[in-house]
């Protein structure tokens, strides 16, 4: 099933690109590029990526999310990639995750309502956070089933640009803390993640990104802390079909959380600008190989971002 979904998603990518193929558009509004023309263009016809100072204006399109697909199967946004540039935004989202392990007589459907946001001190630095405002779990084994719904975990973190090269390359350092806000257990889970994000504008329509991190989580309370260390590697490409729509395809590798090799999981995100700074992202991630039991994860995020 997961393979079918992935195939369908991949097959739809070129179709989307063709359908929304923009005219041979002019490019940047204010910054000259190799094929720019001096004549200004109205905002609605702005190119998807526009270069500016600090490199972070590159690729900035109001309302259009950017960077890696923010979808994984851990607490809040742990184990997801981050973008390289700071932005100020606020959003709500939901994330669905399914484990359907028939031979193991186990099933778990998880649904989280997310609140997330970030504040950019500058194009180079942002603080961000994600709260699982409501985390719902349905669990079934061969004979028993049950549900639980509580406040979930909160993460807070920061990203800071540390390196820039050429006109389109940025490397940022990022870190986040996971705070023990979840009420589903007497054991409170805390964690931290440090990593680096990379992005590179290949052309006005195509941008590459990458992310690598190490995360540590552990329990607080009466029970053993059971610390877990994970390593996350992400690489992907984002293709901007037009200023109001883009698609991103990521590959994610994760190690150490569940086994030495957790998973290789491609993720697909479809991003759209709805109105001004209001953007929407629909995403899916499908672990294909490895010890990860999640069959699929789906996400829908709606965010407003300051222009």
């Amino acid at each position: 099933m997961r393979h079918l979904l992935l195939s369908a998603a991949l097959a739809s990518l070129p179709a989307l690109a063709e359908e929304a193929a923009p005219p041979a558009a002019p490019v940047a509004e204010t910054v000259a590029t190799t094929d720019s023309t001096p004549a200004p263009v109205p905002p609605a016809e702005r190119a998807p990526f526009a270069a500016s100072g600090e490199g972070c204006e590159v690729g900035r399109a109001a309302g259009l999310p950017e960077g890696p697909v923010p979808l994984a199967w851990y607490e809040a946004d742990v184990g997801t990639g981050r973008r390289t540039c700071g932005r100020t935004e606020f959003g709500v989202g939901t994330r669905l995750r399914a484990i359907i392990d028939t031979p193991g007589f186990y099933g778990n459907i998880g649904a989280s309502a997310l609140l997330f946001g970030s504040y950019a001190f500058s194009p180079r630095t942002e603080l961000f956070g994600t709260l699982e405002a409501y985390d719902f779990q349905f669990v079934q084994n061969a004979t028993l089933q049950g549900t639980a719904g509580t406040l979930g975990q909160l993460t807070v973190g920061a990203t800071h640009q540390v390196f820039r090269y050429g006109q389109g390359g940025i490397v940022s350092a990022t870190a986040r803390l996971m705070l023990p806000t979840a009420l589903s257990s007497p054991t409170r889970t805390v964690g931290g993640e440090v990593g680096a994000a990379w992005s590179h504008r290949f052309s006005d329509r195509l941008r590459f990104h990458g992310f690598g991190s190490v995360d540590l989580t552990a329990g607080l309370g009466a029970a053993a802390p059971l610390p877990r260390v994970g390593v996350h590697l992400n690489g992907g490409a984002e293709y901007v079909v037009c200023s109001g729509f883009s698609a991103v395809l990521d590959g994610n590798l994760h190690f150490g959380r569940r086994a030495l090799f957790d998973t290789f999981a491609p993720a697909l995100g479809l991003r759209a600008r709805l109105w001004r700074g209001l953007g929407l992202e629909l995403a899916a991630a499908l672990p294909l190989v490895g010890a990860e039991r999640t069959d699929a994860s789906l996400g829908l995020r709606l965010a407003w971002r300051a222009e």
Binding site: Q140, L177, A224, P225
Partner: protein, 991 residues
């Protein structure tokens, strides 16, 4: 330096992890940890309290109750009130993967252990039980003694479990605390509970609840989640003496949650989704009280709740008077106490207790204070008296309850010829509709209905509608009415009947029985599959079990209790039967833990049941010396048994090969595999289920059993399936002796010795009995299986010499013939004789071919058929080897193969497998989809309903061979028609 804040953040996380874990009990999994003492707010005081703690040794071989299982190495903790036994690590029993469970719990000095085992579980899957790997003894006297066991959920090392069993002085039970941590990265669904393995015909669970008490919602493995209910406590009621009642109360939760059935009960924490790193702690008090009722446990439970939660209770007492009653009420009188008023509908009343009055008729129950009560007195399985009481706020005497009149009955049974008193069994059958209705009863709706209901069906005599007669005499109390009384002493004796009206005046009724000359010379009768109280699913005391052997005139009974070797010889001697009755020590291995899978299915299976004998009875060993039988293929199990036999000629018997699974556990290996009897077996493992059936992982192959059941149980409902499978294996050249056994667990479920095996063996019952001779006869196929008819058959070879049936090939000649004689007691109708060749009936004798006796209760007209039949009339395959079986009795029921074979997601409706799965349930003479029960894929395989018309030839037979129909079969003649000196099996297509 710019990343200093990141490092600081990680350091903060580390510090939090290190500094904030409190490490309560053993949740932190620290080396040397100690689980905290459970139920801290609970206390008892007494004078002279004491404590005991010891590791059992070989010499501690006492059996403190019908369900006692303790063996050397187990740990016994106790006080002045109770004794508990915790299984040593590695002492595996039943559902417990590796020891560490609670095996025995009884009142000191009462020897009334009535639990098979109590296990800590998180559900009912194999992986929901705990595999303990470490046991620590905690001697903290004088305050307490305890045992701490630790391990993980079975096969799930991420889920660590610690359990502490603790006994303090003066306390009427054991404190238990379990700690479990979800160390896996996934959410877990847990119902952390105590699992009570009652296993049918044993104590019944009782929980207060609207319309509940003993009446719990039915469920199967797929609907069990909906059967969970909460209750303030769980109690149990026994069905036989020496009796104990148990009480389970949670200490760290106001209620217990669980499902209840007569097979398995659970009580514990409310089902919970436990996230990764989450944990659960379950503290409870498990009490035991001597008593024949739930009241003993329920009163204790409410005493505990009073101490824990401050609940107020009152004691209701009263007296039951039964005119003309024999001393004591036995289990036939029961007082049910329900919260409610006269206006409260029955389904809304809350049963809080159930009491069996004592010898003087007095009863006492503890119930919550301030509630109105309805008190029902049940007598002989029926509600006889109901009285209502307003809210009771203080202890109260409810007065006297007077029961309707009954009859004192005395039975006398003697030998017609010698006048000697006989051990026998008397069946009571209602003789008119008014009596049938008026005398019908149940145990509060449980354990089946009987008319008359003389006592709990699983228990001692009188049970249901039957009474054991010892040395010619039995006395019992019965409801009034008109009854047929059948005196029965097995299928080779006459049957006597009287029709009497029981009045308050009572009466004495005499019967005379006579042994009939139907059993062939040189044979011995044997039931190779019987159970008693040693089995986890039997409550029949040893005395009644052995007496039942004598009552049906069995020569040999092989003790095949579930998973425990047992020896009845001591009781045989106590009853003075050792000169005419022999018992053999054996075991029925009963796999409990599903593990293996067949191609195309994700469901784990067990290998079913096998009998092994003779084995040494060694009560100081786990399973009394029986083989470990979990997670082994049959051949591997046979290898283990090979080291345990006490004879060079042992027998392994495949039991009920095609029985339906119970509670997700297969009862027969062939059906577990889903063998297809339309396909030939491969010579070796080819990756198919057929390959699994024949493969060997060690010395023995999985199909290396010597015998397999063709008849199992008195009702014989699955005979067509067992018969078809046996025929299939014979056609595959797997020469396994067909046997006929009762599989009796009590006096009612099946009548011991019906059916039975008539074995040609050069030995006799009594002190000179040689089990090797019996086994040689069995292994050679020299066995007739029967519940009444007796077939004598010989076949002449090419030289004209008549040969017996069995596995020695016979080379027939052109003039060969089958010499066939069928005899039976006059009450056993023989309506048809069939000759089966390679699985197909090729010759039938019926109607005028057969003789019929004039008087079913006489002793003449035994021979029904005596003729020599040329082989040329049997449609043997020309020039090819064949096997021939002879059957006699009633016509076979109309059955068919609707498609009960292997099913899976890709084969949802099941394949036809050559094994009958459905009877002609609509009576239209054909088996079609219309016969299948609603919601089922196939079945049921009900036998024909017993005749109601006394003129029916099977009427009397069906009163004492309950639910059955006459049937007998020989083992096969093996015809080496091509004369090559061996049997060339005809294969599946031959039929």
């Amino acid at each position: 330096m710019r990343h200093t804040w990141m490092v600081a953040a990680l350091a903060l996380v580390g510090a939090a992890v290190a500094g904030c874990s409190k490490g309560e009990g053993c949740l932190g999994d620290a080396a040397g940890c100690r689980v905290e003492t459970p139920c801290k707010s609970l206390s008892w005081t007494c004078e002279g309290g004491s404590l005991e703690l010891k590791v059992l040794a070989r010499e501690d071989e006492a059996r403190p109750g019908l369900d006692a299982l303790s063996s050397a190495g187990d740990v016994q903790i106790g006080n002045d009130q109770v004794v508990a036994v915790i299984a040593a690590i590695g002492n595996q029993n039943f559902l417990d993967p590796n020891g560490g469970g609670l095996l025995d719990l009884y009142n000191r000095g009462k020897d009334n252990d009535s639990i098979n085992q109590v296990l800590t579980v998180t559900g009912i899957l194999p992986g929901d039980s705990v595999r303990y790997t470490k046991l620590e003894i905690l001697d903290e006297r004088p305050a307490r003694v305890a045992v701490q066991v630790s391990g993980t959920l079975d096969g799930r090392p991420d889920h660590k479990v610690y359990t502490r069993y603790e006994v303090r002085p003066c306390e009427p039970g054991i404190r238990i605390r379990t700690e479990i941590v979800n160390g896996a990265p996934d959410n877990a669904m847990w119902a952390l509970s105590d699992g009570f393995y009652w296993s049918k015909r044993e104590p019944l669970p009782f929980t207060p609840g609207e319309g509940v008490g003993f009446n719990h919602p039915s469920f199967n493995l797929l609907t069990i989640n909906g059967a969970y209910r909460t209750a303030p406590f769980l109690a149990s009621t026994p069905v036989t003496d020496p009796a104990a009642s148990y009480a389970l109360v949670a200490c760290n939760q106001q209620v217990i949650e669980g499902f209840q059935s007569d097979v398995v009960s659970t009580g514990g924490l409310v089902r919970t989704v436990v996230p990764p790193r989450g944990y659960q702690v379950y503290e409870r008090f498990l009490g035991v009280a001597a008593g024949r009722d739930a009241a003993a446990g329920a009163s204790l439970a409410q005493e505990v709740r009073g101490k824990l939660f401050g609940e107020k209770t009152v004691v209701l007492s009263g007296k039951v008077e039964a005119p003309a009653s024999l001393a004591g009420s036995g289990f036939r009188t029961s007082v049910l106490v329900l919260e409610g008023t006269a206006e409260t509908p029955a389904e809304k009343r809350v049963p809080w207790s159930q009491a069996v009055p004592g010898e003087d008729g007095a009863f006492r129950v503890r119930v919550p204070a301030g509630k109105p009560w309805v008190v029902e007195v049940h007598h002989f399985g029926k509600k006889s008296v109901e009285r209502v009481f307003d809210a009771v706020n203080a202890d109260a005497d409810l007065g006297t309850f007077t029961l309707p009149a009954t009859a004192k009955v005395r039975l006398e049974v003697s030998d017609t010829l010698s006048g000697a008193w006989l051990d026998s069994e008397v069946f009571l059958v209602a003789a008119d509709d008014a009596t049938r209705t008026g005398a019908a009863g149940t145990f509060h709706g449980q354990m089946g209905s009987c008319s008359p209901w003389l006592g709990p069906p699983p228990g001692a005599s009188p049970a249901c509608n039957r009474v054991l007669v010892r040395s010619g005499v039995a006395e019992f109390e019965a409801p009034l009415g008109k009854f047929h009384l059948y005196a029965f002493k097995g299928p080779f004796w006459t049957l006597a009947r009287r029709t009497e009206t029981f009045t308050p005046a009572g009466g004495t009724y005499a019967f005379r029985l006579r042994e009939l000359a139907v059993q062939p010379q040189g044979t011995i009768t044997a039931d190779l599959h019987v159970h008693g109280a040693a089995s986890f699913d039997s409550s029949l005391p040893d005395r009644d079990r052995v007496l039942s052997f004598a009552a049906t005139d069995l020569d040999v009974a092989v003790a095949t209790d579930h998973d425990v070797v047992y020896d009845y010889s001591t009781v045989v001697a106590e009853l003075g039967l050792q000169q005419k009755l022999s018992t053999v020590t054996g075991v029925e291995t009963t796999a409990h833990i599903p593990w293996f899978k067949i191609p195309g299915s994700d469901f784990p299976l067990v290998i079913g049941h096998y009998n092994f004998w003779p084995l040494a009875y060694q009560p100081w060993l786990p399973r009394n010396g029986g083989p470990y039988d979990e997670q082994l293929e049959p051949g591997e199990l046979f290898d283990r048994a090979d080291t345990l036999y006490t004879s060079s000629v042992p027998v392994v018997q495949l039991n009920h090969p095609w029985a339906e699974a119970e509670f997700g556990r297969d009862l027969g290996f062939p059906r577990a595999l889903g063998l297809n009897a339309l396909q030939d077996l491969p010579a070796k493992d080819d990756g198919t289920v057929g390959g699994m059936y024949v493969r060997a992982r060690g010395k023995n192959a999985n199909n290396a059993h010597h015998a397999q059941e063709v008849m199992n149980g008195t009702e014989n409902d699955l005979l067509p399936a067992y018969r078809a499978f046996w025929f299939y294996t014979l056609s595959q050249g797997q020469l396994s002796t067909g046997t006929a056994n009762s599989d009796s667990h009590g006096l009612v479920d099946n009548t011991v010795g019906v059916p039975r095996n008539v074995v040609f063996a050069d030995t006799a019952p009594g002190t000179g009995f040689e089990v090797d001779r019996l086994n040689e006869g069995i292994r050679a196929g020299r066995v007739l299986g029967t519940n009444g008819p007796v077939i004598t058959a010989e076949l002449s070879d090419k030289d004209g010499t008549f040969r017996p049936y069995g596995f020695t090939p016979v080379q027939p000649g052109s003039g060969s013939a089958l010499r066939l004689k069928v005899s039976a007691a006059p009450w056993v109708p023989v309506e048809e004789i069939r000759v089966v060749v390679n699985g197909a009936v090729t010759k039938t004798f019926s109607g005028a071919d057969l003789q019929r006796p004039g008087d079913a209760f006489g002793w003449e007209g035994l021979v029904r058929f005596d003729r020599e039949i040329p082989l040329s009339e049997l449609a043997l395959p020309a020039g090819r080897d064949a096997w021939v079986v002879v059957e006699a009795g009633a016509p076979l029921p109309v059955v068919g193969d609707v498609g009960g074979g292997f099913s899976s997601e890709t084969v949802p409706h099941g394949t036809k497998d050559g094994i009958p799965d459905t009877a002609d349930n609509d009576g239209d003479g054909a088996v079609t989809e219309k016969d299948v029960a609603t919601g089922a894929k196939v079945g049921p395989m009900r036998p024909p309903p017993p005749p109601q018309d006394e003129a029916h030839p099977q009427f009397h037979f069906s009163q004492v061979v309950t639910g059955g129909y006459p049937f007998a079969f020989t083992n096969p003649f093996i015809l080496d028609a091509d004369g090559n000196g061996r049997f060339d099996a005809p294969g599946a297509e031959s039929k």
